[in-house]
Amino acid sequence: MSEPIVIESVSKWYGETQVLFDCNARIAKGEVVVVCGPSGSGKSTLIKCINALEPIQRGRIVVGEHTLPAPAAQLPAIRAKVGMVFQHFELFPHMDVLHNLTFAPMRVLKRDRAAATDKALGLLQRVGLSAFAGKFPGQLSGGQQQRVAIARALCMEPECMLFDEPTSALDPEMVNEVLDVMTGLAAEGMTMVCVTHEMGFARKVAHRVLFMDEGKIFDDCASEVFFAERESRSTRAQKFLSSIVA
């Protein structure tokens, strides 16, 4: 199996403060990996390194045929192949939903408007929001915005998807509509790295779980192992699990 994402000995500092310590992980094609851990553990920072939103100071990350760190001029091309969904959705508020979806494909992939629109409408239908193409993000609920954000990332036909706490900013009743879309995506074989506190999703959908604390990866194992054999996990992971899973 090819490996679209390889993280090798990655360390990162903010100024003097080290936030990632020698992180290693290999993510196979079609694999769904959940990254969990207490807040401040470096989960979000680690996945932002995968599409170079955060630079790394040591180690390397292979994404498809590219290797990071890379010259700034190459970054847009690398990022175009990696979809990302943010905690706060980050739709462009001055563009309607359809424009949000077609903008990057037209600018970056040079699609013509008709092709970009076709693709966008198809994806909107898939996330159940066909009727909202002409709405502005501010007119949608959080869950709807996040589904649009997923569709926007998919419009770029990415090789893999990064999710940075996609449900953390949502009201509880909207969490499932977003998780359902993510579950469907996983079922279709999308390579996914998800930072999330949704342990139900991790248990049901993820193939693997990475547990992080204080900038280090402590556990990297199949999700059934992670949840079923708690006592064989790191003490930090055991403590984390007992604090969030009743």
């Binding site: 932002k48 939103l53 990696v82 502005f136 990332a153």
Partner: protein, 248 residues
């Protein structure tokens, strides 16, 4: 107070017999409006460029833009005007050009000097507002653009600047109004804009009150039209379901 009001003085022929005072005032108004609009155009172009530069990574660009702002914002406009009018040509222009400038129509050189001076002065202030508008945009909004593979130019041009601009329309409006008011310093280099014309009319007719009331009303009218236009612009740019364009 014993003052002989006479509003029909505006229709009286001017002292040189060539015109009427109302035309003096209106030609002053035309100069004021022309200078101000040209200066505003310069201020927007340079100010947006500098404001963006101040938010970009290259240190040299940021330092130069900061130096510009400090220089032009901290020296009185009047001093700047005297510099551009009396000192800059002697220091910066070759003698041949200086001679040509001295022979040129003084109204043209005064107008040009005032436009450049006011434009450069206001650019420093526009720069700071553009910078503030950009920095008010959440980090995630930049990241969302970059994550889609957009270049920095795309992110600024299509995402950040349109949103930043919406945030700063109100402060830009007052800056725009300041341009009209500041244009009055042009009278110190002899340019007959609105304030100069009303002072001139007051001196020749002794009807100082009428002259300055007319000028006051005209400045007020300009300000009203400008702020209404900017309000209309603000309303046009309003995003459905969205606040001011600051955060989501």
């Amino acid at each position: 107070m014993n003052y002989d009001w006479n509003w029909s003085i505006f229709l009286a022929p001017t002292i040189d017999g060539a015109s009427r005072y109302v035309w003096w005032i209106l030609s002053g108004l035309a100069f004021t409006v022309f200078i101000s609009l040209c200066a505003w155009a310069i201020a927007l172009v340079i100010g947006i460029g500098l404001g963006v530069t101040r938010t970009l990574p290259p240190r040299l660009g940021r330092a130069l833009a900061t130096a510009y702002v400090e220089l032009f914002r901290n020296v009185p406009l009047l001093v700047q005007l005297f510099f551009w009018y009396y000192i800059a040509p002697v220091v910066f222009l070759p003698v041949s050009l200086q001679t040509a400038l001295n022979r040129a129509n003084p109204v043209a050189t005064q107008t040009l000097t005032m436009i450049v001076c006011l434009g450069l002065f206001t650019a420093a202030r526009v720069c700071e507002q553009v910078r503030a508008g950009i920095q008010a945009q959440p980090r995630g909004r930049f990241n969302a653009g970059y994550a889609l593979g957009l270049t920095r130019i795309h992110v600024y041009r299509f995402v950040i600047l349109p949103l930043a601009f919406r945030v700063i329309v109100p402060p830009l409006t007052s800056e725009f109004l300041n341009v009209f008011k500041n244009s009055a310093v042009a009278l110190t280099i002899g340019l007959l804009e609105l304030t100069a014309r009303s002072r001139q009319m007051g001196e020749f007719t002794a009807h100082v009150f009428e002259a300055f009331i007319a000028a006051t009303l005209l400045y007020f009218l300009i300000a009203q039209i400008t702020s209404h236009a900017m309000h209309a612009l603000e309303a046009r740019l309003r995003i459905p379901g969205h606040g001011l364009g600051g955060s989501a």
